[in-house]
Amino acid sequence: MAEDARDTRATLALLAALAAAAAGAHALGEPFYVNMAARVAILAMAAAGLNLALGFGGMVSFGHAAFFGLGGYAAGVAAWHAANQIPLASWPVLVPGTDRMIVVWAAAAATGGLAALLIGALSLRTSGVQFIMITLAFAQMFYYFAISWPAYGGEDGLPIYLRNGIEGLDVYDPFTFFAICFVWLAATLAGTARIMRARFGAALTMARLSEARLASAGVDPFPVRLTAFALSGAVTAVAGALNADLNGFVGPSALSWKMSGELMAFVILGGVGRLGGPVAGAAAFVLLEHFLGAATERWVLVFGALLLGVTLFARGGLLGLLAGRARHG
């Protein structure tokens, strides 16, 4: 319990630091750094979605880019149809495109959740290394489909010329947009904490630690895992939609295996199964990318070496250093 409290404190401190950084950059009139903070919030939220499956549920998904990208495409496609005034579907009911953020989020969550349900239903028949490879391969399927299907830009991706909006908010103001992303991130973390304290969370933890004990308690682990996986996909998809709006662009690279690997790296860098782990991981990645990328051409090499070092030697991740020993593993 003490460990949980420390975890929560570290998470709150990270969130406060992120908000302070964005507010500071905003006060100094540096929209670039406000956008950077928004990016941290979005990537952290995507990784928090993955953490639900990977960290708390023990499902090592190497295909979460599929949900991230699908969410992005949900935003891009809806905005494209709205901008070109072409209905999304004319049968059986007329579905117009939309540029309303709230509708887009719902659509992204539904798309991501449904895709996760389907992929999960097939992939959760296996476990271990097969599960990793199968989730990866399914994500690649979406990747190649996005590349080859010309209707929504194919290889070129889909530019979003007008950011999706919310009534009463100026979403073009970088700080307002950051605030939206930040609220989403905070809500995700709070939601995760709540779920993990509920009966469902206990069942999920049990499914990870000892399937046999869960089964002897009369609970089938499959639906528990599948629900967590779908929820995880939906959260990551909403982050993907936010990311598309931040960049004004969504493309196949949001679906690529490197994206999956990076999301996974955020979770591990931050600390597996820790509430604030994804925030620490995403922040570290974005900061490293920015400052290391400016200092050396070989930043990928350095990032790779760092990731290798953390995996081999610092098993609790960044939060492990901040908040004490690793939770499991």
Binding site: E30, P31, F32, N35, R39, I147, S148, P150, G153, G154, E155, D156, G157, P159, Y161, N243, N247, G248, F249, G251, S253, A254, K258, M259, E262, E289, H290, G293, A294, A295, T296, E297, W299, V300
Partner: protein, 379 residues
């Protein structure tokens, strides 16, 4: 998403601003790694050569590698506009990257001067007063080749291009002059390197010639495998499929191929002779058309900078760009109403050269070619 992976901080500061007024900052986002790298390298080298020759202290160039990734190009553009406060952007090679970057960049008030990509969307309905293309509209060279092949009496060319905006523009452009009745039509994956299945289909068709648009590494892979498969149908294409780097890698297999270009290194005018000589001296290689486009882009920008400051007097700067008062290495040069060039398109043939094959100018395919989208442009 990844803002910048490789070659991230490849910042080349050509001329550091003195203590005097703020220098004009030009951001160049181009492809310096991967299969399309030599296109970006040549655009950059041509551009830098023109800046060095001008010797101006008040122009600062920032060069970054987009690795041919649209999202990376987009975030580099945002970073250059918001953080580095550039006034002018340039450098993008690929149409899909241009579509990701240009519309939002020009809306943020910067000028975009395209040294290569010319997607139809930006020439027609999506044209913008701050967007200028110094090279060509994507259809141009392909349309010229369609006209040339029709005149040469070919009946059933097999045509292929990668599946991206410039690829569809290419085949649309070709068919706009040749006619829709071709021996076969194929779209390949962008960046694809194995063309076995496509070559088999060409072999099985009753085509009498092959027209292909495969720039960069794709062209090298295709031509090598085409020759290796024992194919003998004559090949045609835009200059992008037969630039000097591709010819160097492919070797004698390319000899006899004909291609269309708005420029050739043996084009006889004073500006071009000086450019080719200076480029060879600086870089030890013959410039490709991409280098000529980078060079022209820089000289266009410099000519407009002589007239006005892009930040303080954007309207005057835009007028100066539109007037295009610079000596282009391709001879006469002027902009149409949609800020795309009206220019002659030439035909070149690949001939044996000094150690490797090279292109030789053999004629004119089209005079005063203007793209088909200008009429749709409302600025």
């Amino acid at each position: 998403m990844k803002k910048r992976i490789l070659g991230a901080a490849l910042a080349a500061i050509v001329a550091a601003g003195g203590a005097a007024a703020d220098p004009t900052r030009i951001g160049m986002i181009t492809t310096l790694s991967g299969g399309g790298a030599h296109l970006g390298v040549d655009v950059r080298d041509g551009f830098q050569l023109a800046l060095e020759q001008a010797g101006r202290k008040d122009v600062e160039l920032i060069v970054r590698d987009d690795a041919r990734k649209p999202d990376m190009a987009k975030s580099l553009a945002d970073e250059m506009i918001q953080k580095d406060k550039v006034a002018i952007l340039t450098g993008i090679i690929w149409s899909n990257l241009a579509m990701a970057v240009v519309p939002s960049a020009v809306r943020q008030g910067v000028f975009y001067i395209s040294p290569n990509a010319g997607p139809s969307a930006l020439a027609g309905r999506g044209c913008h007063r701050n967007y200028f293309n110094v090279a060509w509209q994507n259809d141009d060279l392909h349309a010229a080749m369609g006209a040339y092949m029709k005149a040469q009496g070919f009946k059933r060319p097999f045509i292929l291009a990668p599946n991206y905006p410039a690829g569809t523009d290419a085949l649309t452009g070709f068919k706009s002059t040749f006619g829709a009745d071709v021996g076969g039509e194929l779209y390949t994956k962008l960046g694809q390197t194995d063309y076995a299945a496509e070559i088999a289909r060409i072999r099985a068709s009753d085509a009498d010639s092959v027209f292909f648009f495969l720039p960069g590494g794709m062209g090298i892979a295709f031509l090598k495998q085409y020759a290796g498969a024992g194919m003998t149908l004559p090949v045609f294409g835009p200059a992008f499929s037969f630039d000097e780097v591709i010819l160097g890698a492919v070797g004698d297999a390319a000899i006899g191929a004909r291609n269309t270009s708005q420029w050739a290194y043996d084009l006889d005018n004073a500006a071009n002779r000086a450019f080719v000589e200076a480029f060879r001296k600086t870089h030890g290689r013959t410039p490709t058309l991409y280098a000529s486009q980078g060079y022209d882009a820089a000289r266009l920008i410099l000519s407009a900078l002589d007239a006005a400051d892009p930040v303080k007097e954007p309207d005057a700067f835009r007028e100066a760009l539109r007037a295009a008062r610079f000596e282009s290495v391709r001879g006469k040069f002027r902009f149409g109403p949609n800020h795309h060039p009206i220019q002659d398109i030439y035909v070149r043939e690949v001939v044996p050269g000094d150690g490797k094959p090279t292109n030789r100018l053999i004629g004119v395919a089209m005079r005063d070619r203007q793209d088909a989208y200008a009429a749709q442009c409302r600025m």
